[in-house]
């Protein structure tokens, strides 16, 4: 029985309907030549597949991650906007003082490690921090700033300000950030392709600041500084160091 090559190929790919498949199966059982052809199709498929398998491991450029997470300016999307971190307006019930966020008193005490999922997710449409695989990871503008922004780029008005970058004893790169206004400050470390939030803490001087504007060089909360000192290996990165780390995609520098 002669079987068209396309049919053999489809057989090898498991693409035939059951009736045709059974017919082809019994035909090739008798015919070593057909068996060889099917084996060739499978071998080629396998070879092509493995020739491209390694590409899936390539580091994804930050600009693509940022684009996929919707951090574009096109209206009508899940636009990641820092403004949205503020709780939704609830008419007249909205307090006059307009503090952008409120830390539960118990949390405000010091470093908040492993905070609950609900915390900081009020943006809903556009969280800056999200729980993923048991860790909190930076999202949206926060993730983009951690990946792309240098400390020197952090103008006082910027949505996210990057503080100190350093190589941790674990071999991962870590960076401190503040979110402007009286939003929290935090420490994030690069794990794989994500920035894991290690700690969040209220910005220094929250209570005294109601303008939502902070001058340059906002101090890091004590608690974050202590955590940083515990983790840091050597000195903080200078600007060249930051640039080099960014160029490497913040790949961990394990010894």
């Amino acid at each position: 029985m002669s079987i068209p090559d396309e049919t053999l190929m489809a057989f090898a790919d498991g693409e035939l309907d059951p009736v045709t498949r059974d017919a082809v199966e019994s035909a090739i059982r008798e015919d070593p030549h057909l068996q060889l052809k099917v084996a060739e199709h499978r071998a080629l498929r396998q070879r092509v597949e493995s020739a491209y398998a390694a590409e899936l491991e390539d580091e994804i450029p930050a600009r693509l991650l940022t684009a996929a997470r919707g951090a574009t300016s096109t209206p009508g999307l899940n636009v990641i906007s820092l403004e949205e971190r503020r709780p939704p307006e609830r008419g007249a019930a909205q307090p006059q003082r307009g503090r952008g966020w409120t830390v539960p008193v118990s949390m405000a005490a010091s470093v908040i490690v492993g905070v609950g999922v609900g915390f900081f997710l009020w943006g809903r449409q556009s969280p800056l921090v999200q729980a993923a695989d048991g860790a909190l990871v930076a999202r949206g503008r926060l993730a983009a700033a951690l990946s792309n922004q240098l400390a020197a780029d952090s103008s006082p008005g910027a949505a996210v300000q990057i503080g100190v970058s350093f190589l941790a004893k674990s071999g991962d790169y870590c960076r401190t950030f503040t979110l402007g206004g009286d939003s929290p400050a935090g420490l994030a470390c690069r794990r794989g392709t994500a920035w894991e939030i290690q700690a969040l803490a209220p910005s220094e001087g929250v209570s005294g600041n109601e303008s939502g504007y902070r001058t340059a060089g906002s101090a890091l909360p004590e608690s974050l500084l202590r955590l940083m000192q515990e983790r840091i290996a050597g000195e903080p990165l200078d600007q060249a160091g930051e640039q080099a780390a960014r160029a490497s995609g913040w790949k961990p520098a394990h010894p």
């Binding site: 090559d5 396309e6 190929m9 489809a10 790919d13 693409e15 060739e40 199709h41 080629l44 498929r45 070879r47 092509v48 597949e49 493995s50 020739a51 491209y52 390694a54 590409e55 899936l56 491991e57 390539d58 994804i60 450029p61 600009r63 693509l64 991650l65 684009a67 996929a68 997470r69 919707g70 574009t72 096109t74 009508g76 999307l77 899940n78």
Partner: protein
């Protein structure tokens, strides 16, 4: 439209697809830089059109289609701008590299780069990305029969090139 729950997750699903989208785009464009540009464009387009995605359909197929259309648009725009035939050089380049390095991976990729575009698309979607014929045909907007014959010709050509390379 009550898809907020679904579309919430889509950006993360797209993030998870990025490695495959890039790989497919590289096969289309035969140039890593072009591939990333095309993927970025496609992702941005996809996010503005989430409501067009039928959530029963496979997100990967839908995204592959958008990537491919983004590349088609880019090629058209370039030929309008400069009448440059895109990709030929990149294809040659891969061929030269593989001669020097002789690893199987590079031989396969070099052979792929030399396939005619329609066959390369079919091979890339089915053999590299693992789409069923029906899904691949859908991405390319062609009947399954056409997909099957492009795939068969593409495989035959690959087989010949790879055998020639070995002897």
């Amino acid at each position: 439209m009550n898809t907020s729950e679904t579309s919430q997750n889509v950006p993360e699903q797209i993030v998870a697809l990025l490695p495959r989208l890039r790989r497919f785009a590289r096969n289309l464009t035969r140039d890593h830089h072009d591939a990333d540009d095309v993927v970025q464009l496609a992702v941005e387009r996809a996010l503005t059109r989430l409501e067009q995605w039928d959530s029963d359909a496979r997100l990967d197929s839908w995204m592959f289609k958008i990537v491919r259309n983004a590349w088609i648009d880019e090629v058209r725009a370039r030929s309008r701008r400069a009448k440059v035939f895109v990709g030929a050089d990149a294809g040659e380049q891969v061929g030269v590299d593989s001669m020097a390095q002789h690893t199987d991976m590079l031989s396969v990729q070099a052979a792929m780069a030399r396939l005619p575009e329609d066959q390369r698309e079919a091979v890339s979607l089915v053999l590299v990305e693992g789409l069923p014929y029906r899904e691949a045909a859908e991405v390319l907007e062609i009947p399954v029969g056409t997909l099957t014959s492009r795939l068969a010709r593409g495989r035959e050509a690959l087989q010949l090139m790879l055998k020639a390379g070995e002897s």
